[in-house]
C-alpha cells in the first residue's frame, strides 16, 4: 500500500480502527449471546435486532457514567493503563492480514515486515503489564491481589502460547504473518493435488498446537476456567475493581479487541487466515474469527474456575512440556534438522 490515501483509509476505516472496533462489539455480542443460549438464558434481546446493539449501548452508557479515581490510587499509572489496555491490542490488529484495499482478492496487512509475529506476541504480553500496573496502582487490596494473579498467570501461559505460535512459523520458514498465511494456502493446495502422509502428520501436530493455543488464549483473555485474575465472587473483578466510567469502558473495549486479536491469530496461524474459495478475504476472516469466538465461548461456559495454584501448576506440568514436544515434532516434520 504505497498510496498515502489508501493507507489513511486502511488505518482509519477498513480494515483498521473503525472496522476493528465495530467487529469487536460484534464479537462481544456473539460471545454473550452464545454463552447465554448455552446456559439456558436469552442474552441481549432488546437493543437492535436480537440485541446486536447492546454492546454499543453498554459502551456508550459507561462513557456517560461517573468516572471515579480513588484517593489512594497512584493517579498517572491508574489513569493511563486503561488507554494502554485499549490501544495496544488495537495496534496489534494492524499486523493481521484481513483485506487489501487495492485488490478484492488480496489480503496484505496494513503493516507487514519480517518478524511481525514476534511483535504481536510481545504486544500481547505488554497488555498484561498494563493490566498489572493498573490493578496494582488502584490502591485497593482486591485490585492488588487481582494484579498479582494476572502476572502469575502470565508466567504460566505465556511460554506455551509463544512456543506454539512459533510452530507454523517454523513450517513456513518465516516470521511474517502474511507469509505464514501464504504458506498455508500453498501447502493446502499442494495437499489437495497430491495428498501425502507428511501432510496428514503436519495437520495432526498443528491440531495439538491449536488446542494448546486456545487453552492459553482462554487464560490470556481471562475467560473461564481461567478468569482467576478477575474472579467476581472472590476478589470482586480483581484488578478492574476500582475502574469506573470511561476507564472501564476502555477496559471493556480493550477486552473485546483482545478477543478479536486472539481469534485473528488463531485464524492466521492455524486456519489459513482470510484465504478461502468464492468469498472475498474479509468475509472469510469474519467467518473464521467468529467461529473461533464461538469455540472460546463454548469452552468458557463448560468449566468451573480453577484456583491460581492449580492453574499455574497445571500449565507447567502439562502445557509447557506438551508445547515443547509439539515444537519438536514440528521441527522434525519441517526437515530443518
Amino acid at each position: 500500500m504505497s498510496n498515502p490515501l489508501t493507507t489513511l483509509v486502511a488505518v482509519l476505516f477498513f480494515p483498521g480502527l473503525s472496522f476493528i472496533l465495530t467487529y469487536a462489539l460484534w464479537c462481544q455480542w456473539v460471545s454473550r449471546k452464545a454463552a447465554a443460549r448455552l446456559q439456558n438464558r436469552q442474552g441481549p434481546l432488546h437493543t437492535g435486532w436480537q440485541g446486536t446493539l447492546q454492546p454499543l449501548a453498554d459502551f456508550i452508557k459507561l462513557l456517560v457514567n461517573e468516572d471515579i479515581t480513588p484517593a489512594a490510587a497512584d493517579k498517572p499509572v491508574f489513569n493511563y493503563s486503561p488507554i494502554a489496555v485499549f490501544a495496544i491490542p488495537l495496534a496489534a490488529t494492524f499486523l493481521i492480514p484481513i483485506q487489501s484495499l487495492t485488490s478484492l482478492w488480496g489480503w496484505e496487512p496494513i503493516v507487514s515486515f519480517q518478524g511481525d509475529l514476534i511483535i504481536i506476541l510481545f504486544l500481547m504480553s505488554v497488555v498484561i503489564l498494563a493490566v498489572f500496573l493498573g490493578g496494582w496502582s488502584s490502591g485497593n487490596v482486591f485490585g492488588a491481589v487481582g494484579a498479582t494473579r494476572a502476572a502469575l498467570m502470565m508466567l504460566a501461559y505465556e511460554i506455551p502460547l509463544s512456543l506454539v505460535a512459533i510452530g507454523p512459523a517454523i513450517l513456513a520458514g518465516s516470521l511474517q504473518i502474511s507469509e505464514i498465511v501464504d504458506w498455508q494456502v500453498t501447502s493446502v493446495n499442494t495437499f489437495f493435488r497430491a495428498p501425502s502422509i507428511q501432510g496428514i502428520a503436519i495437520v495432526g501436530v498443528l491440531f495439538i498446537g491449536v488446542v494448546i493455543y486456545i487453552m492459553c488464549l482462554l487464560a490470556e483473555l481471562e475467560l473461564r476456567p481461567f478468569d482467576i485474575s478477575e474472579a467476581e465472587t472472590e476478589i470482586v473483578h480483581g484488578w478492574q475493581v476500582e475502574y469506573s466510567g470511561k476507564k472501564l469502558a476502555l477496559l471493556n473495549a480493550g477486552h473485546d479487541i483482545k478477543m478479536v486479536l486472539a481469534a485473528a491469530l488463531v485464524t492466521s496461524l492455524f486456519l489459513g487466515g482470510p484465504a478461502g474459495p468464492i468469498l472475498p478475504p474479509f468475509a472469510w476472516f469474519i467467518l473464521k474469527t467468529t467461529f473461533c469466538v464461538l469455540v472460546l465461548t463454548n469452552l468458557s461456559v463448560l468449566f468451573a474456575r480453577f484456583r491460581i495454584d492449580q492453574m499455574v501448576a497445571g500449565a507447567w506440568k502439562y502445557l509447557v512440556p506438551l508445547a515443547v514436544l509439539q515444537v519438536m515434532a514440528v521441527v522434525a516434520l519441517s526437515g530443518v534438522i
Binding site: 448455552l38 491481589v145 473461564r224 465472587t233 472472590e234 468451573a304 474456575r305
Partner: protein, 393 residues
C-alpha cells in the same frame, strides 16, 4: 503478624456475601492464616416486636425472619405456641406442614447448589439448577399461592388444604425434581473442575465438628448424624420412612452430597405424604384474642440450614412474654471459622457459602463493654440521640 501477612476484609459488603457480615482474613500470600468473624450488623428487632403482638399477628412476623426458611420458622413458632397452649392439631394438618417443610427444603437446597456453583465460577450449572428449581417454585405456588413466605401454618393447624385432584400432577413434578437432582449428583461427583474446587476444600473432621457444635447439613457433611427429624421427631417424622443422610467427606463436596441427597429424600417424603395423607379437618379454631395459659416451651425444627430453636414464654396474655429465636447459622459460625483456616483466598467464598449462611436471621444486637465487662440497654430516645450525634460529627 509477620511482614508477609496482610489483612483482607471480606464484608460487610462483598459480592460473595448476600448479607452484611464481616470477616477479617489474615493472609500470607494466597493462604488464609487467621479469621476474625464479626456478627451483629443487622438488627431488626423482630423478637421485641413479637412481644407486643398477638399470636396470630406473630405468625407473619416469624415468617419474615428469613426469606428462604420462612416455613421452618413458622413451623417452629406454631409448634412452640401450641405446646404452651396445649392445642392438639388435626392429623391432616401435620401432614400438610411436613409437605410444606420438605418442599421448602428442596427449594432451599437447590438454591444453595446453584449459589455454590456460582461461587466456584461455574455459572452454567448455576443457571441450569435454578431453571430446574422453578419446578419446585411452581409447585409451592400451586400449593400455597406464593413462591416464598407461604403463610400456610397457623396456630391450630394450616390455612389451606391440598386438593386431592392435583396429586397426580404434583407426583409428576416431584419425579422431575428427583431425576434432575440425581443428574446434578452425577455431575458434581464426576466433573473434573468441580472436584478440583470441592474435594478437600474447607475440611473439618468429625471430632472438631462435634466440639464446635455445628448443625444441619454443615455437621452432617462431617459425618455427625444430627438430623432433628430423626433425633427428636416432631409432627409425623417418626412415621415417615426416610434415610438419615450424612457423609464423612468433611469438605465442600460432602456438603454438596448431603444437600443433594437430602433433596432426593425430601422428594420421597413428599410423595409418601401425598400417598398417605388422611382425610379430615385441617385446623382447630384459634381466636386472636384467646389467652394462653402461663408456661414456656421449646420447639426444635430441622430447618434447611440446621437446628432451628424457638423458645416462647407465655405470661397468660394473648401475646408472648418473650419469644427467642436461635437461627441455625449462629451454631455454624464457629465451625465455619475453623473450615476457613489454612485454605486459599480463592476458596473463601465457597467455604462461607458452604454452610449456607443466613446472617440476617442470626444477627441480634446488644451493648457490651469489653473493658468493663458490662452490658446495658438503650431506649429508642437514646438511640436516636446517638444517631444525631454520630451524623453531626
Amino acid at each position: 503478624m509477620s511482614e508477609r501477612e496482610f489483612v483482607i476484609p471480606i464484608g460487610p459488603q462483598h459480592p460473595a456475601l448476600k448479607e452484611p457480615e464481616s470477616f477479617l482474613f489474615t493472609v500470607d500470600g494466597e493462604v488464609v492464616v487467621d479469621v476474625e468473624p464479626r456478627i451483629g450488623y443487622n438488627h431488626r428487632g423482630i423478637e421485641k416486636a413479637m412481644e407486643s403482638r398477638n399470636y396470630i399477628q406473630n405468625l407473619y412476623i416469624t415468617e419474615r425472619v428469613c426469606g428462604i426458611c420462612s416455613n421452618a420458622h413458622q413451623t417452629a413458632y406454631t409448634g412452640a405456641v401450641e405446646e404452651v397452649g396445649g392445642i392438639e392439631i388435626p392429623e391432616r394438618a401435620k401432614y400438610i406442614r411436613v409437605f410444606m417443610q420438605e418442599l421448602e427444603r428442596i427449594h432451599s437446597h437447590l438454591l444453595w447448589l446453584g449459589v455454590a456453583a456460582h461461587e466456584i465460577g461455574f455459572d452454567t450449572m448455576f443457571y441450569y439448577v435454578w431453571r430446574d428449581r422453578e419446578v419446585v417454585m411452581d409447585l409451592l405456588e400451586e400449593v400455597s399461592g406464593n413462591r416464598c413466605n407461604y403463610a400456610m401454618a397457623t396456630v391450630g393447624g394450616v390455612r389451606r388444604d391440598l386438593p386431592r385432584d392435583k396429586y397426580p400432577k404434583w407426583h409428576k413434578m416431584l419425579d422431575k425434581l428427583a431425576e434432575r437432582t440425581n443428574y446434578y449428583i452425577k455431575v458434581a461427583s464426576t466433573e473434573k473442575t468441580i472436584l478440583e474446587r470441592a474435594v478437600g476444600v474447607g475440611y473439618l473432621g468429625k471430632e472438631d465438628m462435634i466440639r464446635l457444635s455445628g448443625s444441619g447439613p454443615n455437621a452432617r457433611s462431617s459425618g455427625v448424624p444430627c438430623d432433628i427429624r430423626k433425633l427428636t421427631p416432631y409432627l409425623i417424622y417418626d412415621e415417615i420412612p426416610f434415610e438419615h443422610i450424612y457423609v464423612d467427606n468433611g469438605d465442600v463436596l460432602g456438603q454438596v452430597l448431603v444437600r443433594t441427597l437430602e433433596v432426593v429424600e425430601a422428594v420421597k417424603i413428599c410423595k409418601w405424604v401425598l400417598d398417605n395423607i388422611p382425610e379430615g379437618e385441617i385446623a382447630v379454631k384459634f381466636n386472636p384474642l384467646q389467652r394462653l395459659p402461663e408456661g414456656e416451651a421449646v420447639y426444635l425444627v430441622e430447618a434447611q440450614r440446621g437446628e432451628l430453636i424457638h423458645y416462647t414464654i407465655s405470661d397468660g396474655r394473648n401475646m408472648p412474654y418473650r419469644h427467642k429465636i436461635r437461627a441455625p447459622t449462629l451454631g455454624n459460625i464457629p465451625s465455619l471459622v475453623e473450615r476457613l483456616k489454612g485454605g486459599y483466598i480463592a476458596d473463601i467464598p465457597i467455604t462461607i457459602a458452604g454452610i449456607d449462611p443466613c446472617f440476617s436471621c442470626t444477627d441480634r444486637m446488644a451493648f457490651y463493654d469489653e473493658g468493663k465487662d458490662k452490658t446495658w440497654t438503650w431506649t429508642d430516645v437514646e438511640l436516636s440521640k446517638y444517631r444525631k450525634e454520630w451524623y453531626s460529627r
